[in-house]
């Protein structure tokens, strides 16, 4: 048997990407990283992302790398809605705890082009008890996509079986077991999470979780991480798990689950 020399493994590439990102975070990704999952935080108006949740995208990527074969950017970036960089990758996370500022014309144009090219936008409510961000985001997105209105998606949607078999959506809190989405061409392009998904993922500098999931605690956090992984796989594979070849397996497993 031939001696196997140094191989390019996924983890080595992830580490290389991590190092590269630290060294030159604004440069283009290395080979194999160009198509890596990157949960970029979307910036609109003058508001900065929640400081305590800035670590959530990195954690999200790390979970994706640990749990799946997918590559992910361990040091995700931020992107402005009116910047041309928004069109560099097909995924962004728009999160907030209060109603967003009214989108500027340039931001509307940027988001409209992002969606038109096939981008996926996750809208995450960081203050589920109030829900003002999601409400405001829907109003603003109605200006971006006048012909699209959110609909409820549940466990029959591919997002709930993109990697894990999930019965409900969750996050830092358990406000709503379902998600909402704006479906275009049969594909969910804007997903609304009302449960503060980033809050469940966030960690502080010491590695501790700054937010305690309620009411389910760590079990709920695990479910939130699984949902985040599913969203990542949905972004990377689209509706792959809707393929007919998967149907009998998934039906069997769904059937074996306890209600």
């Amino acid at each position: 048997m031939a001696h196997r020399r140094l191989r390019l493994t996924r983890r080595r590439l992830a580490l290389a990407a991590f190092a590269l990102a630290l060294a030159a975070p604004l440069k283009a990704a290395a080979f194999g990283e160009g198509g890596a999952f990157n949960p970029r935080l979307l910036i609109t108006g003058t508001r900065e992302p929640s400081p305590r949740r800035k670590t959530a995208p990195g954690r999200w990527s790390l979970e994706v790398v640990h749990r799946t074969s997918a590559p992910a950017r361990l040091v995700p970036t931020q992107v402005r809605a009116d910047a041309v960089e928004l069109l560099a990758e097909p995924f962004a996370v728009w999160a907030g705890s209060q109603a967003p500022e009214s989108l500027t014309a340039r931001e509307i144009t940027g988001l409209r082009r992002f969606i038109a090219l096939g981008g996926v936008l996750l809208v995450d409510e960081l203050e589920p008890s109030e829900g003002s961000f999601i409400k405001g985001a829907k109003e603003q997105l109605a200006r971006v996509l006048p012909d699209g209105s959110p609909i409820v998606i549940g466990e029959d949607n591919v997002v709930f079986r993109a990697f894990y078999l999930l019965r409900k959506a969750t996050g830092r809190v358990q406000k709503d077991a379902k998600l909402e989405a704006i479906i275009r061409g049969g594909v969910a392009q804007v997903i609304f999470s009302p449960n503060d998904l980033l809050g469940a993922l966030a960690r502080d500098a010491g590695g501790a979780h700054p937010f305690e999931p309620t009411p389910g605690g760590e079990s709920q956090r695990e479910q939130a991480i699984r949902l985040a992984v599913n969203i990542a796989m949905y972004v990377l594979c689209s509706n792959y798990k809707d393929d007919q070849v998967h149907a009998p397996f998934l039906m069997r497993r769904r059937g074996s689950e306890s209600p």
Binding site: G35, L87, L165
Partner: protein, 742 residues
């Protein structure tokens, strides 16, 4: 010089008849008058005689008779001989000695002797206008078809002197006039030409033979769907046939033939039919060989097999998409494939490796096992193409199937290898059977140098700028490509491959620019190597947004189209205007698309099965749209592939045309001579039907007299006749007065 006379030198026949009628009537009136008045016999006789004389001279004065001096000769009648030059006359002659062609040539010589006194012109006919046989020419090479009606139409509508008779030399196996409608079809062909058609039959005996009479496809053939081949088999000449084994085999280039169906034909009274179910997996032009196992004593083994060209349509492209890990590149390609209604994609993405810690039980996962063995054994042939995207062959058990995958390509399957950290050398494909069907070499590349992390923008090669397959994309974005985040490292393009995109800086070991996008053709299949994993940037990037993300679809649509031999992306079209007859020089016609005037091309002819390269020809296209003709020489019976590369070797993607050469084709399928049809032709036109040894019985058409000099002299001057007539009329009047008549 001959001498004769005529009643008149200037009056037409009608006037002469009128003159004689009037003269006769006058004579009758005169005799009636004489007998009515009962004159004495002597006087009456005298009056009558003078009257007759006066009448005769009056008529001569009116007609003025002349002497005619002529110089003339007899010219033989024009007779056309139409000799059947189709492939059927290469069948054995009576008694199995020699061919019917030899008999035909002897018959032509006999006809020249027999009709030595007439003007004979001999023609050979096949399909279309007959071809003249000059002097003592004989029938040498077979012509396609045997359409006598077309030959007769050409004769009847020709501007040459019309013939007085026609002689057909044939074995009676004619396309037209067809059996049962001989008279009507002859009438339609000849139009106003009404001449006897004599026939000379070249054979009368049925050869002892078993043959595949016909092969018909019931309906159109669609890839992956069963189609029915209706095959008719017959035995003639007393050959005893019972059950005959039959097989339908698909031919491939450089690969063994594959038996698609087999069966037994049950023969009853020398005839039998069988319906074979064949399923062809590859769309495009395919060559099927249908062959029977003939019993001993078969005198014509060549017609035991027929080659059928089948244009296999594609309902949908059935494509297997295998990706080593989910990325935006995988997402983009999948999204495009799923959006194309003409593509039926079966996808398997590796979502979890053995080292991934999913933190959940199997039942909590929506993951299914990757059925690599099942896919690449049982189901592989059901796919039109396979896409291996950033996929490592080793950990997922694909390595043991690479030989099968390479054979799949050679048998007509398509393969696309898309780059990534697990592609090409990094994916353990070097030194495997699959590497032999990739358009780029993977030799001599260390594993630790299998990828190049440097960002670059691929550049179009000269071939890439001209290739129809990149035209849809260049129409959108020109020659620009977005920056690619690194590439797999590959070697030189393999022989016969076409490089469309290359690395602007990186060189192979030979010093050539490293290929980034290369196309290749191996056996009957095609492969594409794309060494980057950034084609998604054609769909989603600031670059792509300038054209609405359409470059990605344009690029992959063309790639898949080329892989599936979509004519839109073929740089050249190959045709065989006269088909291919085994043993007869064959001519190909090339039409170059998207090539400027004066373009050149290399044409390679290879034998299917063995892959033996038989001929390589270099041709130059003329200005304009005129096709280039390529003489490929005489080919033996079998299937062939003509591969055309425009410009010079490797400069364009190859265009391929599969074709078959048969010895006899349809015309040997039924080797029996058809004397009855020849007799019907002769009978319908008033001709005579004879066999090749009865040419002496053919009637000779009458010769034509041609006057070369003619001189007319009056016997007497006109006034002399008038004076004599006046004197005679005066004498007659005097005698009538003397005997008391008015």
């Amino acid at each position: 010089m001959t001498e004769s006379w005529a009643f008149s030198g200037d009056l037409g026949g009608a006037f002469i008849v009128v003159a004689f009628c009037l003269g006769g009537a006058s004579l009758v009136l005169l005799l009636a008058e004489l007998f009515g008045r009962r004159k004495e016999s002597a006087a009456g006789l005298l009056v009558g005689a003078s009257g007759v004389l006066a009448l005769g001279l009056l008529m001569l004065a009116v007609l003025r008779p002349v002497r005619v001096f002529e110089r003339s000769n007899n010219v033989g009648a024009r007779l056309l001989v139409l000799a059947d030059a189709s492939r059927s006359i290469d069948l054995p002659a009576d008694g199995g000695t020699g061919s019917r062609r030899a008999v035909a040539n002897r018959a032509l010589a006999s006809l020249r002797d027999h009709f030595a006194s007439v003007r004979v012109a001999q023609f050979a006919f096949g399909r279309g206008e007959p071809v003249p046989l000059e002097g003592n020419d004989v029938l040498r090479q077979p012509m396609p078809g045997s359409d006598l009606s077309a030959a007769l139409e050409a004769v009847a509508r020709g501007t040459d002197e019309l013939p007085q008779a026609l002689v057909i030399v044939s074995d009676g196996r004619l396309e037209r006039p067809s059996d049962g409608a001989v008279e009507a079809m002859l009438r339609a062909a000849l139009g106003r030409l009404s001449v006897p058609i004599h026939t000379v039959s070249l054979a009368t005996e049925e050869p002892r033979d078993a043959s595949v009479r016909s092969v018909r496809l019931a309906g159109s053939v669609v890839a992956h769907q069963p189609a029915r081949l209706e095959v008719e088999v017959a035995c003639t000449g007393g050959l005893v046939c019972r059950d005959l084994d039959i097989a339908a085999t698909e031919l491939h280039l450089g690969e063994p033939s594959v038996v698609r169906a087999s069966g037994v034909v049950h023969m009853v009274d020398g005839r039998g039919t069988v319906s074979l179910e064949v399923t062809l997996d590859r769309a495009g032009r395919r060559i099927l060989e249908v062959a029977i196992m003939a019993p001993e004593g078969d005198s014509i083994p060549e017609n035991n097999r027929r080659f059928v060209t089948v244009d296999v349509a594609r309902d949908r492209v059935r494509l297997l998409h295998v990706a080593g890990r989910p990325t935006y590149d995988v997402r983009s390609l999948r999204t495009w494939l799923k959006s194309d209604a003409s593509v039926d994609v079966v996808a398997f993405f590796i979502l979890r490796t053995r080292t991934d810690d999913v933190g959940a039980s199997q039942d909590d996962l929506a993951l299914i096992p990757f059925p690599v063995d099942e896919l690449f054994t049982k189901h592989l042939q059901s796919f039109d193409a396979v896409v291996l995207q950033d996929f490592d062959a080793e950990p997922y058990g694909l390595s043991i199937h690479l030989r099968r995958l390479a054979a799949y390509v050679r048998q007509g399957g398509g393969l696309i290898m898309v780059g990534g950290p697990n592609g090409f050398v990094a994916g353990n494909y070097a030194q495997t059977p699959l590497a032999d069907v990739l358009p780029v070499s993977l030799r001599g590349i260390p594993e630790d140098q299998a990828v190049d992390l440097a960002t670059f923008a691929p550049t179009l090669t000269r071939a890439g700028r001209r290739a129809p397959v990149l035209e849809p994309m260049t129409n959108l974005v020109g020659e620009r490509w977005p920056d690619m985040p690194g590439t797999n490292v590959v070697g030189d393009a393999r022989e016969g491959a076409t490089v469309l995109l290359e690395h602007p800086r990186r060189r192979t070991a030979s010093g050539a620019p490293m290929p980034v996008l290369a196309l290749g053709e191996y056996g009957s299949g095609r492969t594409i190597a794309l060494t980057v994993d950034g084609s998604h940037l054609l769909q989603f990037s600031a670059f792509a947004s300038e054209s609405g993300g359409r470059p990605h679809g344009a690029f992959w649509d063309a790639m898949l189209g080329w892989l599936m031999r979509d004519p839109r992306f073929e740089p050249a079209v190959v045709e065989l205007p006269r088909g291919c007859i085994a043993g007869v020089p064959t001519t190909l016609q090339l039409r170059a698309l998207f090539a400027e005037d004066g373009a050149e091309a290399d044409v390679t002819i290879e034998r299917m099965g063995s892959g033996e390269k038989l001929k390589q020809v270099h041709v130059r296209f003329a200005a304009g749209d005129a096709p280039a003709s390529v003489d490929v020489g005489s080919l033996a019976q079998g299937g062939y592939t003509a591969t055309v590369r425009l410009d010079r070797q490797g400069s364009s993607a190859p265009s391929r045309h599969d074709f078959a050469c048969e010895v006899g084709g349809d015309e040997w399928a039924d080797p029996r001579p058809d004397g009855a049809r020849l007799e019907a032709i002769a009978k319908a036109t008033g001709g005579v039907a004879v066999s090749y040894d009865g040419i002496a019985k053919l009637p000779l058409p009458r010769a034509t007299r041609v006057v070369s000099e003619r001189r007319v002299e009056a016997w007497l001057p006109p006034w002399s006749w008038t004076a004599l007539a006046a004197l005679a009329m005066g004498g007659h009047w005097f005698l009538r007065r003397r005997v008391g008549l008015a």
